[in-house]
């Protein structure tokens, strides 16, 4: 792991990639004094970007805290911390999620399940304590109520980026926006597990993870994000941290730490090669019986192994059974049996049980009514069967 400077904690920390910062850093500002949890920003994001099937849980912007969702997520995250960083101090002794990751993990995280996404607004208006009638706001804070907009923060040191074993997530050098390469992602859901804000979502229709793209097509055209341009009472605003620091019109607040953050932000330079393995001696390891035959043109392998459960779906925290056959590509090479090595490639035949499931959404949610999309013609991406 590399040593990088954490401008929020005011100290160096360990991270999976060396320090390197973008020219500008995307930032979004939400004025919590104005936010009324109208969800207009949520709906703007949903209607602009997530109209495809399999994206019912995807939301670039949500506003809460909610006992069942965000605060529960935070509690789960906190419970996994051996020692939590103490906010409000310039220098802290706590560990970050990278430093406190258990053996075999890159980030201390947890993977939300279907239930965690099921009731996004339940408890949103529940206050955690009582406030006296007629009470006025005084310092220090008494129990008080506000909505906290939750978005992908396009972090300086993204946990999703650090989690991805394929290097499918990258931070753009021009504006710091963090994106999932939809061509490289193979749906391992490590990023979903690693993100402490739970702002990466697995799409069971495409088998890949997706996240907030900070409306980069709009930004590249010089216009505003969907959530920012539609938010009620102008409670949301976006731009780079340089603009926030300089005090853009109508913005009373400046981003804390913007000056330090502007210095740079990380871009992947190396790809960690750690592979997490179940040791062959582990009693849970499968014993595979293999047979093969050929007709001179094709070769077929028949693999048979005992598996107590049939897992043929993928969804949030659901993974599919799979199998693979690997051979060296060239006869004169002796590649590593662990996916080859540079200069000695291997060819891999890969089967996944989920790929035999015709309609993943219907299989995941058998009682879900069909979704009507307000587009002309065929329903776009309503089911995987529509795509073939």
């Amino acid at each position: 792991m590399a040593r990088v400077y954490n401008w929020q904690l005011g100290r160096e920390m360990s991270y999976w990639y060396p320090e390197s910062r973008p020219k500008r850093q995307f930032a979004a500002v939400f004025d919590t004094n104005k936010c009324i949890a109208c969800q207009t920003c949520t709906m703007a994001c949903k209607t602009t970007w997530t109209s495809g099937g399999g994206r019912s849980t995807c939301s670039g912007t949500t506003s809460r805290p909610s006992p069942t969702a965000s605060t529960r997520w935070l509690r789960r995250q906190a419970a996994r911390h051996a020692r939590r960083p103490v906010l409000g101090r310039r220098r802290v002794r706590g560990q970050t999620i990278f430093e406190s990751a258990p053996a075999g993990e890159r980030v201390l995280g947890w993977r939300p399940e279907e239930q965690d996404y099921a009731y996004p607004n339940v408890g949103e208006d529940d206050c955690a304590g009582q406030v006296e009638k007629g009470a006025a706001f005084v310092e220090p804070h008494m129990n008080w109520f506000f909505y906290l907009a939750r978005i992908c923060n396009h972090c300086t040191y993204p946990a999703c980026l650090a989690s991805c074993p394929r290097g499918s997530i990258y931070k753009r050098p021009e504006d710091g926006i963090v994106l999932v390469d939809q061509g490289r992602c193979r749906g391992y859901q490590e990023c979903v597990k690693g993100c402490p804000y739970k702002k990466v979502f697995f799409n069971p229709m495409t088998g890949t993870s997706e996240k907030c793209i900070a409306c980069f097509p709009k930004i590249e055209q010089g216009s505003s994000r969907s959530a920012s341009s539609t938010a009620s009472a102008r409670s949301a605003w976006r731009g780079s941290s340089r603009e926030a620091r300089s005090g853009a019109p109508g913005q009373p607040h400046r981003l804390p730490g913007a000056r330090a953050q502007d210095r740079a932000a990380p871009v992947p330079a190396v790809r960690p090669g750690a592979e997490r393995l179940l040791h062959p001696a582990d009693p849970r390891a499968a014993r595979v019986k293999v047979r093969a035959l050929h007709d001179g043109a094709w070769v077929a392998f028949r693999l048979e192994w005992r598996d107590a459960s049939k897992d043929e779906l993928f969804g949030p925290s659901q993974f599919s059974d799979a199998a693979a056959v690997q051979v060296p590509r060239d006869p004169n090479t002796d590649p590593s049996p662990m996916m080859g090595q540079p200069g000695s490639p291997v060819r891999i035949l890969y089967w996944k049980a989920a790929w035999q499931t015709a309609d993943m959404l219907a299989a995941l949610h058998p009682n879900k009514p069909p979704t009507d999309y307000p587009f002309e013609g065929d329903r776009p991406c309503a089911s995987r069967a529509d795509w073939s």
Binding site: P165, Q182, L278, V290, R306, S320, P331
Partner: protein
């Protein structure tokens, strides 16, 4: 329009499979994290789950497996299995520790 809302399909990510696609794909790798689909590769297969066992057939043209796999030539083969219930994915898997001798007679 449907492609706009399925970016992984739009960029031909092999992880997306249509209902008429075979549940098997051919890839090539040179190290961890480098698995890439072999363009235009043919492959076929099917898995059946019965009596607590998976029986899976994976098939491909011999030529698709590279020049190492030829009738009459000795080569090597290795296997891996992923258990969904144990949240196996990517490098989290059960795999053969060594190559196994492989001859297409």
């Amino acid at each position: 329009l449907e492609l706009s809302y399925a970016p992984a399909r739009n960029v031909h990510n092999p992880n997306f499979r249509g209902t008429t696609d075979a549940p098997v794909f051919v890839g090539e790798a040179e190290m961890f994290g480098s698995l890439t689909a072999v363009e235009e590769a043919q492959a076929d297969g099917r898995g059946e789950y019965n009596d607590g066992k998976w029986r899976v057939v994976l098939a491909a043209p011999i030529a698709m497996l590279g020049t190492a796999a030829r009738v009459g030539r000795e080569s090597k083969v290795a296997f891996a299995v992923w258990e969904g219930r144990a949240q196996n994915a990517g490098g989290r898997k059960m795999r053969a520790e060594q190559w196994t001798k492989f001859v297409i007679e």
